[in-house]
Structures are given as C-alpha cells and as structure tokens.
Amino acid sequence: MRLFVLSLMLSFAALCQAQNVTIRAIDQPAAVVFRSIVEQTGKNFVYSSELLKDMRVSVDVRNKPLKHALSVIFKDSDIEYDIKGRNIILRKKPQAKKKTRVAAQPRVVQESYTSRPEMLEEVVVVSRLEAPAVETAEIGAKKLTSQEIINTPALFGESDVIKALQMQPGISEGQEGMAGMNVHGGNADENLYMLDNVPLYQVNHFAGLFSAFNAEAIRYIDFFKSSIPAKYDGRLSSYLDVRTRSGSCEGHHGSFRLGLTSGSLNIDGPIGNNTTYSVALRRSWFDVLSAPFLALVNSSSDDEKIRLRYAFMDLNAKVTHRFNNRATGFASVYFGNDILKTGSSDKQQGSYSWYDDDKDDFHWGNLVAQTGLNYKLNRSLTAEFTAAYTRYFSSMKHDWLSREINNDVTVESRSLSRTRNNINDWIFRADFDWKPNDENRVRFGGNYILHSFLPARTDRNYTVGTTQTLTRDSTWTYKANEANAYIEDDWRLNEKFRMNAGLHVSLFNIDGKTNYGLAPRLSVSYRPDGNWAIKAAYARTNQYVHQLSQTYLSLPTDQWVPVTGKFKPQNADKISLGAYWQSDSRTFAASVEGYYKTMRNLVDYRDEYYLQPPTEMWNAQLCSGKGKAKGIDFKIEKVYGKLTGHVSYSLAWSDRTFPDKNGGRAFPARFDHRHTVHILMNWNISDRVSLNAAWTGHSGNRFTLLPQVWESPGFGDSYTNDEVPLKARINSYQLPFYHRLDLSCTVRNRHGFWTFSLFNAYCHMNTVAVRRTYNDAGRPVFQKVKLLPIIPSISYTWQF
C-alpha cells in the first residue's frame, strides 16, 4: 500500500504567509502537494496541464524556504520552476520544444514569462486550494480563493464572498442584489460566518447590498453545507470561515482600488526577519459623492435644510510573528461599521415662528480582536490556541426638537431616544491536529464562550415645556455561557474507502437553564477507481441564537437573541448522498448531490405578531415550528484551462410548519426555488484581458399575495376607510421566473488593471413583489414590483 503521509500544517499556513514551508508527503500526487504550498504561501502554480500528469511527489521539509522545498520536489524531474511575484511557474527544462498557449488570470502572467512563449504548450493556473471532490470524504464543501471571488461579477463591481457563493448549487441569494444566503432551504440566520475562526454576527453593509468581507483582504474561504466537520456547530445550515491574508516575507506589496461605490487600500510586508504585517482598508464613497448634491439642495432654501450621510468601512489588520521553528503567533483586528446620519431642519419667522430640527444617527458594525499561538508539540501533533473578543453593536439615536413662538410665548418640545443592541463574546479555544499514523488524522479541541446579549433597549426622554417624561423598556442583558468540545477522525481505510467521523458536544447555559446538544457527524467515501467517488453523509447541527428581522433587508434593527423562555435550541438532521467524477486530466469534474434535511424548533414571527406589544418581549411575538428541505444538485465544472467555470442545476423543495402560522398548515419557504440554474464562466482571452460571466435563473420567490379585500369597518379615530386585504395562505403565490446575467471584464496594464462590470447585463427587470395600488387612471390594479435594472460600474486597481 502506498503510504499517504501529508502533513499540510494547515493551521500554520493560516497564520503566516512566510515563505518557509513545511511539507511531508510520500508518493503523493503533485497537485495535492501544490495545494499545501498554495495554502501556506498564498502563491499560485502556473503550469501545463500535461506537465504534471500522473506525477507523484515525495518530500519531507520542515520550516524550510520555499525554494528549498521546490528544489527537493523537482530534484529528479525534468521540470524547472521560476518564482515570479505571486506565481510559481513550472515548465519543462529547456530541451523540451513545445508551443505555448497561455491561459492565465490577469495578475499571474509576467512579462518575462510571456517573452518565452515557445517554452510551453498549454499553461494553466493552479490557484485552487480545493482538493478534487473525488479525493475527500466531504459532501458539499467548497474552498474559494480571493481570485475566484474577484472573478465573480457582482453588483457595482464590488467583489463579494457571499455573492460568489451564491453561484454555487443549493444556495439561494435571497432578496435580489443582496448579500444573503439561504442554504439548502434554510433561513438566512442559519449560516455561521467566521473571520479566522471567530464568529461575526453582522456580515453586511448598506442593508445587505455588500457583505462585510473585503475581498482584497481574503486569502481563501472554507464553506461547508452538507457534511460538516465536527469542529463547527452553532448554526443549522452552513459554515463559512473566511481566512485573511498574512503579510509577505519577500517585500512590501500593496494595491489601491478605486470603484464607483468604494475604494480600498491593501499593503503587506515584512517587519524584520520573523514578523510580517498586513493591512486592508475599504471605505465607501457615498457620502463624498452626495455632499455636493446635498449642498446644492440646501442652498436653494434658507429655511429648510436636509442632512444625509452614509458611509461604511472595514479594516483588517494582522501581524504574524515566528518565534521559532515550533511556534508562530499572530494578532489581528477586524473592524467594520456603517454610519447613517439623516435629518432635516425647517423654520419660519414672523409673528408666529417655529423651528423644527430632526436628527437620526445610526451606527452599527462588528469588532473582532484576536490573538493566537500555533505550537508544534511534536512531530505528529500541533496545537492552536486562540483568545478572541467579538463585539456586534448598533446604536440608533433620534433627536427631535420643536420650538413654536407665538406672541412671545414659546412652547418647546424635545424628544430624545436611543436604542442599543449589542452582543459581546469572549472566546477561548484550543484546537489540536494529530496524525497518529499515515491513515488517520484526528482533530479535536474545545472552546468556551462568554456571551452577553443586549437584544434592544430603548431609552426615551420627552420634554414639553418643563415637563419631562423618561422611559426605559424592560429589556435586560442576557449573560450566557457556552462550551463546546469536538473530536473527529479523517480515516483512510484503504485505497477505496475513506471516512470522516466526529462528534461535537455543546452546552449553552442561560437564565439558570442549561441546554445541551450532541452533534454526530459522519461522511463516507467509496472510490471505485481514480476518477469516481460515491459518498454518503449525516450531520446534526444545533443553534442557540437566532436573528429577528421584520424585513428582508439586513438592518441594524435586526436582533440576535439567545434561546430563552419556552423556546428550545434549534436543531437539524441532514442526510446527503453524492456521486463525483473527474476526467483523467482533472480538467473536468462533475457531481450530483442529494440531501434531505429536517429542522426543529425553528423560530419565526407568528401571524399578526405586531398585535403583541413589544413590552411582551419577543417571546410573545414569536412562535416555534419545524421545517423540511430536500433536493438534488447537479454540477459540471471545468477546472483548468483558458476557459474555466461551471454549470449547475438544483431541484429543491423547502417548507415550514408552525402551529401559529398559516393556521397550522405547512407552507413553502420564501426562497423555495424549485429550479435553479447557475452558469459561471471565466475566460482568459489574452495576457491582458479576461472576461467573467455569471448567469442565474431560478423559480420565482414565494410571496404572500393578498388578492381579495373587504370594506373597512371605519371606526378607530382618524384612520382612513380604505379597503382591507383579506388573509391568504402564506407564500402561496410564486413570482415569475427570475433570471439575470452579470458580466465583468478585466484589462491589465503595466501598473494594475481596470475592471468593467455590468450587473443585469440584458436588463431583465425581475419581479420581487406584487403590490395593490391605483394606477394613473385611478383604477385598482395589481402591479409587479421590479427592482435593479442594468447597472454598469468601473474600477481601477493600482498594484505596487
């Protein structure tokens, strides 16, 4: 039996992009070893698809320079390498006489490389970290690099992790144009978003139009939606771990991007021999662009003034230090926030004069600060210790002043209110990675989280004349203790069978009550030959917090609340089956994955929840129910070459049953898309130009259409006597089929590259809702509400 020994030291890699690498592999496919190097160094491999065919590698280097490792790998081969910036270019040694075809992504083709086109026949870029699906035991896992994210066209040209993932089968985007995810029939709050393994609660800017993750700061992401590693728990549907870049040891690099909606600056480099830094800053321009317009509007009136300012920013900063061959430490900070300031003032002067001033200040975001130490305990066991603090905050202030002066009599009223919504988590975790032998890789660890939830507390201060009214709602801070432990073994039984089995145990203590969850995980892979694999998986997941949102937008008023009172922790069981194929050259891959998921103790607003006053807290407005989702995802992918991409089709069902909703009858989930097709294409036309296209088509969202109306009773003070909509079954109406094409084109020059993009390129106005209204002729009509026409955008990135 060929030995499988591959010490990837993934956790080391995640922490330091230093050019020293550690690789231990015996008789492994070259591509597998390259993925380890890509992950540790952040560099891409560029080589002919034929060059490495069937090549196997044995190497054992520990904390050696990259060049040394590459020399060992290619010592007895006829391949030579050349490190150019972020790329490691492989080619046959000079005696080879072949013609070249270049298929590189924009930033990887170097002048010196293209000046020798006769050296290679077909060049592909391998920046994929992802192991081919046939080689792993996992179902529904996805690894995306920063470049793959950037290559996915997005609204306003803002590359976005979540919008890139929306192109994967089994994921619904939710509201059009928004960075939301509904995975395999789950709700939007059932996805755990992590930044370097630390949870984030608010993952959106601008009501969800952009995600909080700056694509320039990302190294890669790990995404799991079916078979979930035992390390993760806490959400029902999916887990997204965003890994940020560490600084380069080779020198100082950076880039500056200027787009229509935001700009970003990224720099990284060494500090001495053993320390690196990396900083990425992104900020929106909306306030700068709107300032002249507002000034113009305000100058047109002496009395009335409008105040409006919106901005978002995020900052990623990371310092990595290598203490010795065994220990590497890091400290990082993420800060993202949105600011919205609105208001108006108006006045009238004369014998009766008045002044009115209204100000609203919104401020919300996330702060994550963490430090960690990676320590190699012995040859087979490494440990990662992390301490982190994560804070979600939103503060909403409202200040209204009214002053009336009539015949020298002044009546002044002032209303001040402030609503705060905070979550503070202190996290301490230890993760271990143990390879007792060549067939097993055991991961185990645990963590403790001290939660502090302040769902939403409002203080009001109302003054009229000398009379003051102070009120504070009864919301209080919830303290909760959470502890988790896990163990899993990735066990290669033989050449054909591979199994990953694990268990996650969690405890969640709140209000003197302790909830616990056992989450067994199992995935099995059978590989009848090198190009085929059949897999099966089971995963249970638990969730102790949920998000309350009265709208489909991501707003600072959305509240994360813990499981309290009569509500039980949510949990889900999911069974998945999959079949996978890859071509001999590994250029093509195909898969089919089926799943069946049951969800329990789901929480949602009950019908007519708004009739329960907020003083009753959320317990009175919410109800508990269950859900079911099933489906099958097909995907065909071209992995290497000038033209890469995938075509996927999903057939899915998702429904919910709540005793206090829809009369207790089951109803379809809002994003119950029966049919979904994604086509994603990246075409490297030349050294300078590449074209990216993404087409999405899916069954329309479900909508609660209220077609009938009745006569208003006409009582109740001053309210209007218009017609009243009659109750109908929830989500019983399906909106028309949704489809959209997004395009982007990247054109490189000597100093950087331009990105041109078109959102909704053929301007198909998709229906997002149906409303009742009166048309211009005064006739009552139903109208399709259509959002987002074609939106062009442009950006330039300067690299240095």
Partner: protein
C-alpha cells in the same frame, strides 16, 4: 419629521425600482361574507354585511353589498331581536348566512366600563391679556392662553385583560359671532408612554413613535393596579368675546373619556396604525417585508365586530378662569 422613515422605501422604491407593471394574477379566489359592527353598551346594534372582492374588480369595488344575507343575533347564548340593547358584560354572537357567499360568525364581549379614577388638574397660564371693561377693544374682554396638565387614574379591575381608549372633548360658551370661546389645543401624546406600547424598536428607530395620535392602550403593564395617565394639553385658549362681563362666560368644561374596548377593537386599531403609519407597511408593498393582512375576528377573516363601554370625567374650568382673570 423623521426623514429616516422615508429613506429605505425611497432608496428601494425610487432609486432602485425600475418600473411597475400592471397585471392580473392568475389565482383562484372565492368571495366571502364580511361583518362590521361597533357595539356600544346601551345602544342598538348596527351591523354591516358585505362581501369580499378581488382588489382589481372595479364593479365589485363599487357595489359589494349582500342582498341575501340572513342575520341571527345572540346575546349570552340566546337569540335576540334587532331591538335588543346590549349591556356591559353581554356576550354577543352574530351569525350571517348567505346562499351566495356562505356563513360568517363573530363573537364579542361587551366590556364593562372602568370608572375614571382620581383626576388631578394643573393649569398653567402661558399668556394673558385683559382689556378695560370701559374700553371696547376689538370686541374682546380677555384672552387667556394656558396649558393643562392632567393626571388621570385608571383603576384597572383584576382578573381580565382590559383594553382602553382615551378620548376627550370640551364645551364652551358661544360668542355672539357664533364661535366658541374656549378651545383645547394639542394633546401631547408623546407625554404618555403607554400610548406607545404598541410601537416596536424598528418603528421607534424609524421615528414613527412621534407625532402619533394613538390613544389605545392595554393593562398589560398594570393589570389589576392603578395607572396614572399623564395628559399634557398645550395651547389651550380662552377668548372672551362679549361686550359685557357675565359669569356664564366662564362655563367652560373639558370631558375626559375612558373607553373600555374589546380586544378586537384594540387589535384593529393597532393593525391600522401599522399599515397607515408603520414603515413595515411601506416595505411590504415593495416586497421587502412580509405582507400584512387585515386584522379580523370574523370566521371568514373579513370584518371586525367590536364593542365598547365608556366612563367619563368632566373638568370644570370656571374657577380657574375666574381666578386667573381676577388676578390680572
């Protein structure tokens, strides 16, 4: 004005909205009966029976009367006639049947009025002008502007969930020109936090908790106890328009009403506030929030059968006005 409440709908509906397209949804509907009634203790019951219609059916919009409905009225389980006067505590059940539109039923408990408790009135004069009786000055003898701060106790009976509506009106001498001499200005609803108990965080943040004239509330926060309403009436005015001074000119009163309403009435009021003033109503119109259907306690989901009983307290302002004028 809180412009924030307009930001999201404006951004969504104007900046991002490309267009609206008229259409007729292919969805099967069946009209049902609708019952509307507000039952007041001691007064005959009025009931309006109509039917539902497809929103874009213009003919039905103009005429949705039901010709063939047969109504049966029950009071405390017994059939009663149309001349029945409901009493506090009666359980009224209405059954309507139509061969065309089917059956509709609704039931409501006529609430027992809660007497107005202790009332404390604190007037503050903000401006006063008094003319010389010997000098006829623009037909005015006096002009008094004042605020009234009223503390009114609600002694909530224990053992039941009660819903209330606060109301007021006033009476005034009439001047020779036919105008009232006494006017109540503004009730500052913001002074009484319980008038905002139905407003959640989202609406508060959007600025929708201000300038609202909503005076329904429940006893959820003071069940079985006494709660004091803080009622701040500002800008009240008393203009004495007469050529001669007479104490009858001082006969100004203000009446405070504490109306105990049925749960259906309270729910209907909260629903209307949400769709008329709440921002989620706007968002649901453009698909960014869940649709809100009308609150109904009728079996078909159409109509509201509500009930109410009132108690009142009258504030006599004569002494206050007299003292004020005499001290000037």
């Amino acid at each position: 004005m809180a412009i924030l409440r307009y930001i999201i709908p404006v951004l969504s509906a104007v900046l991002l909205t490309g267009c609206y397209e008229d259409f007729t949804p292919e969805i099967g509907t069946k009209p049902v009966l609708c019952l509307n009634s507000l039952i007041t203790a001691g007064e005959p019951i009025e009931l309006k029976v109509t039917r539902t219609w497809m929103f874009n059916d213009e003919n039905a919009e103009r005429n949705h009367d039901v010709e063939d409905a047969f109504i049966t009225l029950f009071a405390n389980g017994k059939v009663v006639g149309t001349d029945y006067l409901p009493k506090e505590g009666d359980r009224i059940r209405i059954v309507a049947e139509s061969q065309t539109y089917g059956l509709a039923t609704a039931e409501v408990l006529v609430p027992v009025a809660t007497p107005v408790g202790k009332v404390k009135v604190s007037p503050t004069v903000t401006d006063i002008w008094k003319g010389d009786e010997n000098f006829f000055h623009y037909e005015m003898l006096a002009d008094v502007n004042f605020n009234l701060y009223v503390e009114m106790d609600v002694n909530d009976p224990a053992g039941a969930v009660n819903y209330y509506q606060f109301g007021y009106n006033w009476s005034s001498p009439v001047a020779f020109d036919g105008m009232q001499m006494f006017y109540v200005g503004d009730l500052k609803y913001d002074s009484e936090p319980i008038f905002k108990e139905h407003i959640g965080v989202f609406e508060t943040v959007m600025g929708n908790d201000e300038d609202t004239r909503f005076a329904f509330f429940s006893d959820r926060q003071f069940e079985g106890k006494t709660y004091t309403l803080h009622l701040n009436f500002t800008g009240n005015s008393y203009h004495v328009k007469s050529q001669y001074y007479d104490e009858s000119l001082l006969d100004c009163t203000m009446t405070l009403y504490l109306t105990t309403v049925s749960q259906s009435y309270y729910n209907w009021a909260v629903y209307k506030w949400n769709v008329d003033e709440g921002v989620t109503g706007d968002l649901s119109d453009i698909g960014l929030a869940e649709s809100k259907w009308g609150y109904s306690n009728v079996s078909t989901g159409a109509g509201v059968v509500a009930a109410q009983s009132s108690s009142k307290f009258t504030i006599n302002l004569k002494d206050f006005l007299k003292t004020t004028l005499n001290n000037k």
